[in-house]
Symmetry: C2
């Protein structure tokens, strides 16, 4: 693609948002970042990746606990206490997201990327949701859990993501007006939803190319 | 169109949702209902249209006040007190919405049509939102009001619509998962948003035709 485009994807747990993001990046021929963002933020900061994993999309990960388990700090000069707070890790991850978005077109899943890149004109924010039935079935299939466990995970992970998003942004997670486009993936299925979002991206790029 | 399709449109005040609904109905070649739903519900029920207008998308319209102004009751047998409650008017309007949806393809704007038709497989629910700036400009232009008046209307009418929707449905107004598709109309502009929704409708109809 000639012009840069960043697609951020927020998603209900089990909605298919991750798969849609991956397939969208593939057909657009651009990079895809999800959990990779943590590894890159860790590398950029000199902190162990496990710190980021513990805090991933949580407002209050138990970092002192993670630290007590012996995850090592590899940086040399950064102020220790500031970095080990979740706010510190959010800031480091935000720096990585901004730096990646400056360099290239990509799809980024979760981690408030839509908010972090809110002033980037080439950014399109998408939210994926699905029926409870489809989500439970996906979670049971992918995580190999019972129906009740899938329901519990669905509720608790959505709650985590929502708290994280609402804490770090001035918007509300899952509310239509927080995103440019929100889609119920049950309507067209995963593959057609990908094509439909691609169409939105192409239309938007056409408009941006005339501005 | 061969198969029946119902598109319901929820919208932020000033977002362009009404215009998008009208244009969508036009290019799909199907009927469009917005305030017309009130006139039809009035006709079906034998009540004056003004009753419905007073209660339109409000949880607590002052119907006894409307009645005191002399709006006449034209029905013969319906239980008076039940009909004159907002719940009674909601029920009458719901009957009209269900009856219209049974007969033909159409676009319906507001009035919880998405919830009333939730068990109708051929129903697609859309929510239109827009940037605050665009909404204020549209309200100033269409309603011939000052910027402050536009801001006040925007806040109070959205509050009304939200209360009405949250009271009469088990969903939350403006929340992405309450609708199949939510779009920020500022991204593509009104006309391209219409074409984009049309594409969603055509893709969905294609899927339904194979079921």
């Amino acid at each position: 693609m000639e012009n840069k485009i960043i697609v951020t994807i927020g998603r209900q747990f089990g909605s298919g948002g991750r798969e849609i993001g991956q397939k969208l990046a593939e057909i657009l021929g651009i990079a895809y970042y999800d959990k990779e963002l943590m590894a890159m933020a860790a590398k950029d900061s000199g902190l162990c990746e496990e710190f980021f994993e513990k805090a991933d999309e949580r407002v209050s990960g138990n970092l002192s606990y993670a630290f007590s388990l012996g995850y090592s700090y590899m940086g040399a000069y950064a102020p220790f206490n500031d970095i080990l707070s979740n706010d510190g890790l959010f800031k480091l991850q935000s720096d990585t997201i901004r730096s990646l978005a400056e360099k290239q077109s990509c799809v980024m899943v979760g981690r408030c990327a839509d908010y972090i890149l809110r002033n980037e004109p080439s950014c399109i924010s998408v939210f994926i949701h699905n029926t409870a039935e489809n989500r439970i079935n996906r979670i049971m299939e992918y995580d190999k859990v019972t129906e009740q466990e899938a329901k519990d995970r669905m509720a608790s992970i959505d709650k985590s993501r929502s708290s994280y998003y609402n804490y770090y942004t001035n918007k509300a997670w899952g509310v239509a007006s927080s995103y440019n486009l929100s889609i119920d993936a049950s309507m067209l299925g995963i593959d057609d939803t990908v094509l439909f979002i691609k169409d939105f991206v192409m239309r938007r790029m056409e408009i941006l190319s005339h501005q």
